[in-house]
């Protein structure tokens, strides 16, 4: 058997080792999603005061399990698969060090298992932030270190693949944008994992009573890890946006310079953004806070606002070039809403931008953080970013990875068509309700906001109960969507109908394949440019222009309403 296979759909030469590494990482990611998802049900049904499912100790334990499995294990294992895909597969290149790839994978799995063991046996009830001096079993920290070393090795391997591809002229011209985006994600990952080493190694030693770790210094460096890792997620997600756009509707890149510069902004300015987790901390002064959050972080915000324009704009233009030229939104009407890859892309962009992005920037403002810090507004915000944005995009690309890499048809395909809708709508309700509950000051990470056993019993207004109920219903809908995703991927991968090596799926009907594969967007011809009607006042992508202006208006409104809410409070400073 040759080391390569030819992809019948894209014509790419795929190294079989890359195939295997992608599969292994994706499978473990899905297992982590399952574990984290089970914990999500338990945590959700406990926060819903009307049910209050778990006892306090189990609640905090399951919250730790949820945070670690979702944010760390699911997301990062999936990203490892994305790195191999964006390098070896898209660049037609071999994986130069298969052994290293497997060693890294095993390290990550062993680290994961160590962490799981400490969490499930109650030896690490410290939540995923593990703020010192809350103490976990030493193996918890060691597990995180092994996991990080493994991930760092994959990042190094990714750089090696790109270098080899360039040397061996596996591709012509420059790196495709998707790979370029993955490259920036990898660069940020390198910085992030370095912070991880700086903080987890001393903490590991501290857990063995070998050294002292200052609580504030821990928070500072931990968020150097914690926040920049969110930027890995954003960069990976945006790369997948471009990828899904290309696969589903033939989205074009309006201008390579703009999109690439925006990616570079992520790399340059992100490690400073850890500051916005420390805005109401005692260790740092106002000028440090203002400088580090605002000037630098807003350059990363700028980058996201640019991608938030270029991705829909590329979609719009790609579709207009293929004849969807009617009116402002004719292209949206003609879009393949039944393609789970496309609907995931659309929801990922909209919820990430409108809910996650706007709330994030607002809460990350030095003073506004006073009315957001550690309230439910924070998990509300990040379930709109890393879940509705990143996880949603990852789910969307899975519908292409299963046929293209696993070479299987998607089981229960009709369910796959509606899965993105269920997950996205549930998550939207969940994260908005959570954010709203947080505006009343409802704390995050809290077992009992009824305070039944506490010394005093503050009572939230009855509206809060209602909002929490809505949150729970949204969460259950999202969990249904997540469960469909897991069942569908597992069944497809292990029992799905196999595709023959030369089966491109082109023109097929009634099979478990998304339209981007059975009926891919046609290649563009030079005539298409000429056929495009002259653009009006709003330019070549008028629909997107209107959408981003609506977005800006919503942003401005939410931002200043928050300043207003802040101004009503006691004077403090």
């Amino acid at each position: 058997m040759s080391a390569f296979r030819t992809c019948p759909t894209t014509g790419l030469q795929v190294h079989r080792t890359a195939d295997r590494l992608i599969k292994a990482n994706a499978v473990v990611a899905t297992v982590a999603l399952l574990v984290g998802g089970i914990a999500a049900v338990l945590v959700l049904l406990t926060r819903w005061e009307a049910v209050l499912l778990l006892e306090a100790d189990m609640f905090y334990r399951m919250l730790t399990v949820h945070g670690m499995n979702m944010l760390i294990f699911f997301i990062i294992f999936f990203e490892m698969a994305v790195l191999y895909f964006a390098s070896a597969v898209l660049l037609n290149c071999r994986v130069p060090a298969p052994k290293t790839g497997w060693v890294a994978f095993v390290l990550m799995v062993v680290g994961t298992l160590m962490v799981e063991w400490t969490m499930w046996t109650g030896r690490a009830d410290v939540l995923f932030t593990s703020y010192v001096p809350l103490r976990a079993h030493p193996l918890f920290y060691l597990g995180v270190i092994l996991f990080a070393v493994g991930a760092l090795t994959v990042v190094g391997h990714f750089f090696a693949i790109i270098t080899v591809a360039r040397k061996e002229k596996a591709y012509e011209g420059s790196l495709p944008l998707v790979t370029y985006g993955a490259l920036t994600a990898a660069a940020i990952a390198a910085v992030t994992l370095l912070h991880g080493a700086i903080i987890y190694i001393p903490t590991f030693l501290w857990s063995l009573d070998l050294m002292h770790v200052d609580a504030q210094v821990y928070r500072l460096i931990w968020w150097g890890l914690g926040h920049s890792s969110q930027q890995i997620n954003v960069a990976a997600m945006v790369s997948i946006w471009y990828l899904l756009g290309a696969l589903t509707v033939g989205a074009v890149v309006l201008n390579e310079k703009v999109s690439r510069t925006a990616f570079v902004l992520y790399v340059l300015f992100i490690s400073m953004a850890s500051a916005h987790h420390l805005l109401v901390d005692p260790g740092m002064g106002p000028s440090w806070k203002v400088w580090n959050t605002s000037y630098f972080m807003y350059m990363a915000v700028l980058a996201s606002m640019i991608h938030g324009f270029t991705v829909p704009a590329g979609t719009e233009l790609g579709m207009r070039l293929r004849g969807a030229v009617q009116g402002l939104f004719g292209w949206l009407k003609r879009a393949p809403w039944g393609d789970p890859g496309f609907s995931s892309l659309a929801f990922s962009i909209v919820v990430f931008g409108f809910v996650g992005g706007i709330t994030g920037v607002t809460f990350g403002t030095e003073q506004i953080n006073i009315i957001a810090h550690n309230t439910l507004r924070i998990p509300g915000h990040f379930h709109a970013t890393v879940v509705s944005g990143t996880a949603m995009a990852f789910m969307g690309i899975t519908y292409y990875v299963i046929p293209l890499i696993f070479r299987r048809e998607i089981a229960f395909y009709p369910l796959a068509r509606i899965q993105p809708y269920i997950f996205a709508i549930g998550m939207l309700i969940f994260s908005m309700a959570m954010t709203f509950a947080g505006t009343f000051g409802v704390p995050r990470r809290h077992w009992d906001i009824g305070f039944t056993q506490a010394l005093f019993q503050p009572e939230f207004t009855p509206a809060v109960n209602l909002i929490i109920g809505v949150m729970a219903v949204g969460g259950l809908i999202a969990i249904t969507g997540g469960a469909i995703y897991i069942v569908m991927t597992v069944v497809s991968v292990f029992f799905g109908r196999k595709m023959a090596a030369d089966d491109s799926g082109l023109g097929a009907t009634g099979r478990g394949l998304p339209p981007g594969i059975t009926n891919p967007p046609r290649a563009l011809k030079p005539e298409d440019m000429e056929a495009l009607p002259p653009s009006g006042r709003l330019g070549p992508v008028p629909g997107t222009m209107v959408l981003v202006l609506i977005f800006l208006a919503a942003f401005i409104l939410y931002y200043f309403v928050n300043w207003m809410l802040l101004s009503f409070l006691w004077e403090v400073g």
Partner: protein, 197 residues
């Protein structure tokens, strides 16, 4: 000719940017500058800033300071906690530890105080109910915040940083008495019996 994001573009991809794309980038940039400017502006003009007086403190020293504060100004007890009524303009010490806020503080509306927050053990979160004012409380650091309560009433201090198994039990109290003459009447829910010295 346009390409998708998975096709390698030619070597030189540094091309002129379309006018509308450029306009959006500049609008976004301008908005980011507004976001930036608002923070220093609020420091100059706004009443709510997380600046504070910040310095390191040994937890044992802080605990001693709180004990002294209670000794000086205690006026009663509430649910077993000392109730303390410091004079306007003074320093107020609030101690966080697993799983209590000590002491209960009685303040006067419109007066200014410096509220010192610190922890004796792990991280805690100062969350003032129902106002939604939140600060991180870190062991080893004293966060001294100037506050001016602007309305009378009973306020509760929840903990909103996970601090251990009894995290949700951690509720303290701040009472703000109206600025007018009724100030000396004991606030609702506070028993002065046996507490007055």
């Amino acid at each position: 000719m346009y390409r998708t994001g998975i096709e390698p573009p030619e070597r030189v991809w540094w091309k002129k940017v379309g006018r509308h794309e450029k306009v959006w980038v500049w609008i976004a940039f301008a908005w980011c500058m507004v976001l930036f400017a608002m923070m220093p502006v609020w420091h100059l003009r706004g009443g709510q800033n997380p600046s504070g007086i910040r310095h390191r403190v040994d937890p044992a020293d802080f605990q001693a300071r709180v004990a002294e504060f209670v000794r000086e100004h205690q006026v009663g007890t509430d649910n077993g906690l000392p109730v303390v009524a410091p004079p306007p303009g003074s320093d107020v010490y609030l101690q966080a530890s697993q799983f209590a806020w000590i002491p209960v503080v009685r303040l006067r509306q419109g007066a200014e105080y410096t509220l010192h927050l610190s922890s004796l053990d792990v991280n805690h979160g100062f969350a003032l109910y129902p106002l939604n004012i939140n600060f991180q409380v870190v062991p080893g650091y004293d966060y001294g915040l100037r506050i001016v309560p602007n309305e009378p009433g009973e306020f509760y201090v929840m903990c909103n940083e996970f601090c251990g198994i009894g995290h949700h039990l951690m509720v303290g109290k701040i009472i703000v008495e109206p600025a007018d003459g009724t100030a000396d009447a004991p606030a609702a829910g506070v028993s002065t019996a046996g507490g007055d010295r």
